[in-house]
């Protein structure tokens, strides 16, 4: 019951905030428009748990799209705009988080797990080779040869 109630609450609350946004922002050229859409794609809406600025209709997302538009027209670079957002909203706002003391584990964990997996595979393969090559006693080997001879 509780789970269902939580789901209903979640659906009701997340519905209106997460429709795609349609703003009519004007840009002097196509290049700036492309940069605008690129930026609002890669910035997360601070209020929604997993929606970018482009996909959210939350008030804060509308305000931040307006800010991105303003800064692009003012001639700021993408890096400056991302810095602006990071300064105010932290790592959360960037879909591609920066490498720092609280995010290093995100970046390094895949490589670490990969090395671990390769190491594990190597150990297993080596063990199997050892098993095949050397675990029969002399008595067993004689018996095996006997069996094979009997077959033919």
């Amino acid at each position: 019951m509780l789970v269902i109630r939580c789901m209903i609450i979640f659906l009701v609350m997340s519905g209106p905030a997460c429709y795609a946004a349609i703003d009519a922002y004007a840009f002097p050229n196509g290049e700036l428009r492309v940069r605008y859409y690129d930026l609002i794609e890669q910035l997360r809406c601070p209020q929604c748990l997993n929606t970018n600025l482009a996909g959210s209709d939350a008030m804060i997302a509308q305000d931040l799209r307006r800010e991105v538009h303003r800064m692009i027209l003012e001639g700021q670079t993408d890096a400056e705009i991302l810095d602006f957002m990071h300064h105010r909203y932290g790592d959360f706002v960037l879909y591609k988080p920066r490498f720092n003391s609280s995010t290093w584990i995100l970046w390094l964990a895949p490589a670490f797990v990969f090395v671990l997996a390769i190491g594990g595979c190597l150990i297993m393969v080596r063990r199997m080779q050892n098993t095949v090559g050397g675990s029969l006693s002399d008595l067993e080997r004689d018996r095996l040869e006997q069996l094979l001879k009997d077959e033919t």
């Binding site: 804060i60 931040l64 990071h86 105010r88 909203y89 932290g90």
Partner: protein
């Protein structure tokens, strides 16, 4: 086939994963973003007063007193919920309460204050959410404690009720007032 504790490795890995996920999901409300603004000075702003839009306030006008900055709006239901506590704080506690009226309509906001009562020494009208963005605000209500030199010392996201005041804010306010008196 495999000897030694090696065969326990996958199980150990699985348990580790379970532990990480359990901690990750319980650690904190994922809606609460860590505040970027702690121990930074108030961002610069220049915004009209809610009651008299010809008078402009800037961050320098906030300096000189320990302040409680409350971000509120008439469209925010939780703001009604926390309002009685703000009224109490403004009357009983040793702190100046300022309002930041966020993305709101001036006339509606003034009517709201008339209806529910006005706990604010002063309200800044942040009509476009500019100051809110500079503060890293992403909803309402939010509450900031600012020391007498204009440095942000605490941020509370969500409803400010008596328990939050007693357990969290009051000790910080006492400390900031103490520091202010010592000069």
């Amino acid at each position: 086939m495999m000897k030694g504790p090696g065969f326990l490795l996958p199980l150990a890995g699985f348990m580790l994963l379970v532990a990480i996920l359990a901690v990750g999901f319980r650690l904190e409300d994922p809606h609460l973003l860590p505040s970027q603004m702690l121990d930074r000075p108030l961002p610069a702003f220049s915004l009209p007063r809610l009651s008299d839009s010809s008078k402009v306030w800037s961050e320098k006008d906030v300096y000189g007193k320990v302040r409680l900055l409350n971000v509120w709006a008439t469209w925010c239901p939780s703001c009604v919920h926390e309002h009685p506590e703000l009224m109490r704080i403004s009357q009983e506690e040793d702190i100046s309460v300022l309002g930041i009226n966020y993305n709101d309509d001036n006339a509606k906001a003034l009517a709201w204050l008339k209806y529910y009562g006005d706990p604010f020494d002063l309200n800044i009208s942040d009509h476009d959410g500019q100051l809110a963005i500079d503060l890293g605000v992403y909803g309402a209500p939010e509450t900031f404690l600012v020391d007498a030199r204009g440095i942000i010392r605490y941020r509370h996201v969500g409803v400010l009720d008596q328990q939050v005041w007693t357990d969290v804010l009051a000790p910080i306010v006492a400390e900031l007032n103490q520091l202010d008196r010592e000069g």
